[in-house]
């Protein structure tokens, strides 16, 4: 089955022409710097791509060790779309060699969420049970030590259905992400509360499901396209009405903003175009308001120390680190900016048995920095990163909006 070869898709591959072999990407790659199993982004991207014929199986399994963090694309001084080339190459590889059951499950978070939520207490206990995890490790390849999501047994969507947002001059649509829906409804609820405090009327478009990012990362492009198109249809009406869309799952927001168009070749989808043009990471959005002088800044003092790690996919937005600028508005808050490229989990990568140890090595530097800082909280914009960091360090890890939520005096 042929992978879509539209203009943008081909531009990703064609961008390999810009590679001058300078090796800068390899100096930044968090994975190749800790393991020889991954030959590095330059190798599996622009270099190996010249040896791949699109309708043949690529012979290089080592490509599978790419975590998809995207740091290579960010640092490439020549504009090679390295991570995108790698993700596309991996999909082609997997199409030919087949998908593991584990990966098929990881690509379907809504399915797992829907099954787990009614029996959440049982699920949560099971997921922490050594024996059960050992079985999952051996049978499926889900590492027994990895941080899996928990299921509170209530969903954000249910809360949103019962909640009415007070009318206000500014309307925003909230893209909550399936991770928040099933596993972190608190984060999403607080986001709505904060936005309302900031003077926004918050729509939560109904029926939001997975955006397709886990499917894309695991190489299931057909499934990913289905999910992305569906999500685009759900959010497009807001975009067309001129209502800005904000997301708290920074990686999923990036998926709809850019990655689905570039990697899945969905650039021609009108709904996706409309959403892509009007979607913002929440910190990006709030900082925009602040730059315009439209952000309420009467935050209460918060005399604690927090660390902040900008996840790779937040950096992929190309917006700098707006969370830092926003947290700087909170009096007495001490923020220690972490200096780490990647925490290691990279979505579903670090959950896998063959990659868990690599992921832990990748994150080691960050975990040590957090331990040294001994903060009250660790702050990070992506949910899978939060779960991974919290498990590795024991420090409670939250989204930046939680800090603002507290400083706004909204925490009960």
């Amino acid at each position: 089955m042929a992978v879509d070869h539209d203009v943008l898709g081909d531009l990703m591959r064609g961008s390999l022409d810009h590679c001058v072999k300078c090796t800068i990407c390899e100096t930044f790659c968090p994975v190749s710097n800790v393991t020889p199993l991954f030959p590095g982004p330059k190798y599996v991207g622009p270099q190996a791509e010249r040896f791949r014929v699109w309708d043949e199986t690529s012979p290089d399994q080592s490509l599978d060790y790419c975590s998809g963090c995207g740091v290579c694309t960010q640092v490439c001084p020549q504009g090679v779309h390295i991570a995108e080339i790698n993700t596309q190459a991996r999909a082609k590889l997997r199409e030919r060699t087949g998908f593991k059951l584990r990966d098929r499950l990881l690509a379907r978070p809504d399915l797992i969420g829907r099954l787990s939520t009614p029996v959440a207490p049982v699920v949560n206990v099971t997921l922490r049970h050594g024996g059960a995890r050992a079985i999952a490790d051996t049978a499926l390849g889900l590492d027994r030590r990895a941080a899996l999501p928990a299921y509170p047994g209530r969903t954000f969507q249910r809360w949103a259905r019962k909640h009415t947002s007070p009318p206000a001059a500014r309307r925003v649509a909230y893209f909550h992400g399936c991770g928040a829906n099933w596993s972190e409804p608190d984060t999403a609820e607080r986001t709505v509360q904060l936005l309302e405090w900031l003077g926004c009327q918050v729509d939560v478009p109904k029926g939001q499901l997975c955006c397709g990012l886990p499917a894309q990362s695991n190489g299931m492009f057909d499934l990913a396209r289905k999910y992305t198109r569906r999500m685009a249809r759900t959010l497009a009406p807001s975009a067309r009405e001129g209502v800005d869309i904000v997301g708290t799952s920074t990686s999923c927001t990036l998926m709809l903003k850019r990655e689905a168009r570039e990697i899945l070749g969905l650039d021609a989808d009108a709904d996706l175009r409309a959403v892509s043009d009007g979607i913002y990471d929440i910190c990006e959005y709030l900082l925009m308001l602040h730059d315009r002088g439209e952000l309420r800044t009467d935050f209460r003092p918060l005399p604690i120390t927090v660390t902040y790690h900008a996840p790779c996919q937040q950096q992929g937005h190309g917006i700098g680190k707006p969370a830092l600028d926003l947290m700087a508005l909170v009096p007495e808050l001490r923020v220690i900016e972490n200096d780490a490229t990647c925490c290691g989990v990279a979505g579903t990568y670090g959950l896998k048995q063959e990659k868990y140890e690599i992921a832990m090595k990748v994150g080691r530097g960050l975990f040590d920095q957090i331990a040294d800082a001994a903060p009250e909280l660790a702050v990070c914009d992506s949910e899978t990163c939060r779960w991974h960091i919290e498990k590795a360090t024991g420090v409670r890890t939250v989204h930046p909006i939680e800090i603002l939520h507290r400083a706004a005096g909204l925490a009960s």
Binding site: A2, H5, D10, G14, L16, D17, H18, C19, V20, K21, C22, P36, P39, K42, Y43, Q47, A48, E49, R50, F51, R52, V53, W54, D55, E56, S58, P59, D60, Q61, S62, Q78
Partner: protein, 521 residues
């Protein structure tokens, strides 16, 4: 002066010469092959890589077409490792007459060349980069063939059967006794030493240089016209199928995916001297426009290297009694020049004309003619015999090096990253070839033929060559400088866009960082 004796002296180490040496060796002749430079340094190493289906000749040159149809099939059987089954397309571009497609189909039918007209949509699905404005498309069994691999496989096969392959041995003069050629005086270009080679028969397979050799036997005016053509290698495969313009042969009408690059070619300009074939800016500009016609956005893609090759076009009035206006009108089929008949000189035959796809047939015809003159009945077996490394019958696949590298990922250092050449292979080749010249290694392995054109690997290779004990410091630096100079020749006419960026980075490495220019000695 040292001397050697042999049955057959083959002059020329391109595809023709190597094919002849292989054929002779298989027939039990003791053979010596000489070439003034490295094997395939002449025309063969500078061609675009097209293994003809014959489609280009079905309308204009049916004899050549028939030859290609037959030889294409034979070569796939005997040297599969040198050939990739890319398939081919003939496309009618917006600038071409769709009616030509009918003549094309008719020609293919007559030549028994399997072809099929496919819808434009289907062609675009097969090759997404193709000009969406094409009007008709036809499939053909084109392939791409690696000339160096071919020449080296044949030479090594001949060598395994006792042939002596002497590279860097230039023919200084032919030895004529009475009315026959009895061998040649040859100079080792690396040592300056001269060598006397005595042979029962001498076969002139020097292609575009044939006339120069023939002159040494006192024969004037053999009609070999050097036809210059330029080609540009593009950084990656813009297409994975050979794309031909469906029209009367014109400039820049083929785009060949060969190994990791796609090559566009070519032009056809009569050259006075086969060694004087400069690339001009106008030719490059025209070639880029030709590329745009086949693949829109061609000018934005990255050009790696441009070079000129020279075809041996045979047009001998004495032999055929005709003249042609345009070198393109000259038949592309080959001919054995019988010097007994034509010039009264015996034990000497020249092969002229031809193309790489018919190399085996050319060798067969030449060696058969020799056998007839010698009165010896030794049948040809090259339709079935396979030279070394081609035994498993598997056609070449682009991923071969990637697969090989994947298996040795943890065990071997990667020296040329662009072309995936490991250290072990590099050292082996350096030792086996006994060479001090990095360009020889480049021809054997494709070292420095990727995007960075040696920017990163050449310093490494120089260090390794020095380490393997082949060179001292000043020689190593000289070899490095020589490589840079040679590489620059092929770069500067196409130095724009991404390749200019690469060149500037490489300048920084060689001049700013290493300061190669100021190495002592």
């Amino acid at each position: 002066m040292a001397s050697l004796e042999t049955d057959v002296l083959v002059i020329g180490g391109g595809a023709t010469g190597a094919g002849v040496a292989w054929d002779c060796a298989l027939r039990g002749f003791d053979t010596i092959l000489v070439d003034r430079a490295d094997l395939a340094e002449g025309t063969s190493g500078r061609f675009h890589g097209l293994l003809h289906s014959g489609g280009r000749y079905v309308v204009k040159d049916p004899v050549a077409a028939d030859e290609c149809v037959a030889e294409n099939a034979i070569l796939r059987r005997v040297i599969p490792d040198c050939i990739e089954d890319t398939g081919g397309l003939f496309v009618v571009t917006p600038d071409d007459d769709p009616a030509y497609g009918d003549a094309f189909l008719e020609g293919c039918r007559r030549a028994n060349l399997p072809t099929e007209e496919i819808g434009v949509g289907e062609a675009l699905k097969l090759e997404p980069r193709l000009n969406p404005g094409i009007k008709r498309a036809f499939t053909v069994p084109d392939g791409s063939i690696d000339a160096w691999k071919t020449v080296w496989a044949l030479a090594r096969g001949a060598s395994a059967r006792g042939a002596r392959i002497l590279t860097y041995h230039k023919v200084v003069d032919l030895k004529v006794e009475g009315d026959a050629v009895v061998g040649a005086r040859v100079r080792n270009e690396l040592t300056g030493e001269e060598l006397d080679v005595g042979a029962r028969f001498t076969l002139n397979a020097s292609g575009a240089w044939a006339a120069q050799i023939v002159k040494m036997a006192g024969i004037e005016g053999v009609g070999v016209i050097p036809g210059k053509g330029i080609m540009i290698a593009m950084n990656h495969r813009l297409v994975n199928t050979v794309v031909n313009r469906c029209t009367m042969p014109a400039d820049g009408d083929i785009l060949v995916p060969i190994r990791t690059v796609s090559v566009i070619g070519t032009t056809d300009i009569r050259a006075a001297d086969p060694d004087e074939i400069p690339v001009t800016q106008d030719e490059v500009d025209a070639m880029l426009d030709d590329g745009e016609r086949l693949v829109p956005g061609f000018r934005d893609a990255r050009a790696l290297r441009v070079w000129a090759g020279v075809r041996p076009l045979f047009q001998d009035e004495k032999a055929s009694g005709q003249a042609a206006a345009d070198t393109r009108d000259v038949s592309r089929t080959h001919a054995v020049v019988d010097h007994v008949e034509r010039d009264g000189v015996g034990r000497f035959l020249t092969m002229s004309g031809g193309k790489l796809t018919t190399l085996r047939l050319m060798a067969q015809d030449l060696v058969d003619a020799m056998c007839r003159q010698l009165g010896e009945d030794r049948p040809c077996t090259t339709t079935t015999a396979r030279p070394p490394d081609n035994d498993d019958g598997q056609l070449y696949s682009l991923g071969a090096r990637l697969r090989r590298r994947e298996a040795t990922l943890q065990e071997e250092q990667l020296i040329c990253e662009c072309e995936l050449i490991g250290r072990t292979r590099l050292e082996e080749t350096m030792r086996r070839r006994g060479t001090t010249n990095l360009d020889d290694v480049r021809r054997s392995l494709r070292l420095g033929m990727g995007p960075c054109q040696g920017g990163f690997c050449i310093y490494r290779a120089t260090g390794i060559l020095h380490g393997v004990g082949r060179l001292d410091g000043p020689e190593a630096s000289a070899s490095l400088r020589g490589f840079l100079q040679e590489r620059w020749k092929g770069m500067w006419p196409i130095l724009y866009g991404d390749q200019l960026r690469q060149a500037r980075l490489d300048d920084w490495i060689f001049q700013g960082l290493l300061d190669v220019e100021h190495v002592p000695g």
